[in-house]
Amino acid sequence: MKQFKYIYTEGNHRWAVICGDPDRAKYLIDTSEYVICKDDRFFLTDPGGVEIFPVVFSSLSTEINPKNVEFIFSSHQDPDIISSLSLWLEVNPNLKCYVSRLWVSFLPHFGGDNTTFISIPDKGMKVSFHNLELEFIPAHYLHSAGNFHLYDSKAKILFSGDIGAALLPETSKELFVKDFDSHIKHAKGFHQRWMGSNEAKLAWCERVSQLSIDMLCPQHGLIYTGENINKFINWFSELKVGVFSE
């Protein structure tokens, strides 16, 4: 089963990561789900694909009441991000899902209806989650045409979707990046191929450089902390993306 680990706690405001399923079918890409907790209300980021719903749900249920998951943030439209939506709606039919305006009419193919989705405008927006300010940061074309990241200025955590993702060996048991140079090798090919625009990449680097970030949390792989965050932004800004090589 996946592990549910708190990565930030400040009073009744917490962040948790659901990660590392040793029994995961190897044909499925590994994902990390993040839960923002405010009192006993929860905000889930990129809840994952339909096939991993049982392990994500059961892991989450060991720590929190799943019926109190009020919001889902879908960074983009991919199946490993949000195809489990219909199952989360079974648990809480009133749940709302934040997603780029581009995908509002596409995601109902996974579940939900016109009452489920809250459209995020291209420029991003700020929302209040039980008095906690969260901001959707634009990351269009990185890699999806309508792509956002989620920033919690109080916790100084940036959920960065596929940016920062690394396809790690199965043996990896870490949660945080320790040795940047050895870690980034597992991220290079992914970013070169999946991130489609150098212009968008530089705009994103510029944008997030202005944020105060203690943790950069991607949907695949390890969490970046401390100096590794700037190392990553610098590395990414210099990386040529949109590269296809056979």
Binding site: F53, V55, F57, S58, S61, K67, S86, L87, E90
Partner: protein
């Protein structure tokens, strides 16, 4: 009952074939009317059966449209059922994985199980309706057989261009026999599903 998509698609293909055969009968009948224009007194009987064939073809089309509607309705329900079954399976798996005594999904699972039962019943009802519709089409097809015999008889009375009319009557007979064949096939397929 084990109703798979490919079984429904196979049924739909049979209906499509029936529809095409009905159309072919109409084309044959229209061709015969054109040919009859060049013949005089002895063609009255054949004209009459040609119009009968056109009528039969139109009615057969209406029957196949009804069958198509039923098939699509079944396809829709089976899609809904499969979606719910998949969700039910995953929710049940999640429930089993929760190590604590808490069973947060119990009520949802109960409700979904009832929905699945209801959908299964609904599909069964629709399948019964489809069987009835096939039976009605079978009965109607007998009219086609009767018109086919008349076509053959009338073609024997025509002296001028007899081969053309004889061959046309044979083609129509083949079409009707094929319609019977497809209906029988559908009936068998449905029998296997029940």
């Amino acid at each position: 009952m084990k109703l798979e998509f490919h079984s429904i698609i196979a049924l739909n293909e049979s209906i499509r074939a029936i529809y095409d055969l009905s159309l072919e009968i109409r084309v044959q009948a229209l061709n015969s009317l054109l040919a009859i224009k060049n013949i005089k007194s002895e063609s009255i009987g054949f004209s009459a059966v040609s119009f009968e064939l056109i009528h039969f073809s139109r009615e057969m089309e209406a029957h196949s449209e009804k069958l198509t509607k039923l098939i699509f309705s079944i396809l829709y329900s089976v899609t809904q059922l499969n979606k719910r079954k998949k969700n039910f399976f995953l929710l049940k798996k999640a429930q089993k994985l929760i190590p604590s005594e808490a069973k947060p999904l119990e009520l949802i699972l109960e409700t979904r199980e009832k929905e699945i039962e209801k959908l299964n019943l609904n599909i069964q009802e629709k399948l019964d309706e489809l069987k009835k519709a096939i039976l009605q089409t079978f009965k109607f097809c007998k009219n086609g057989s009767y018109v086919t015999i008349c076509t053959k008889i009338e073609s024997a009375h025509i002296k001028e261009n007899r081969e053309f009319f004889r061959s046309l009557a044979n083609n129509v007979e083949k079409c009707v026999l094929n319609i019977y064949h497809f209906l029988d096939d559908m009936n068998k397929k449905l029998g296997q599903l029940s």
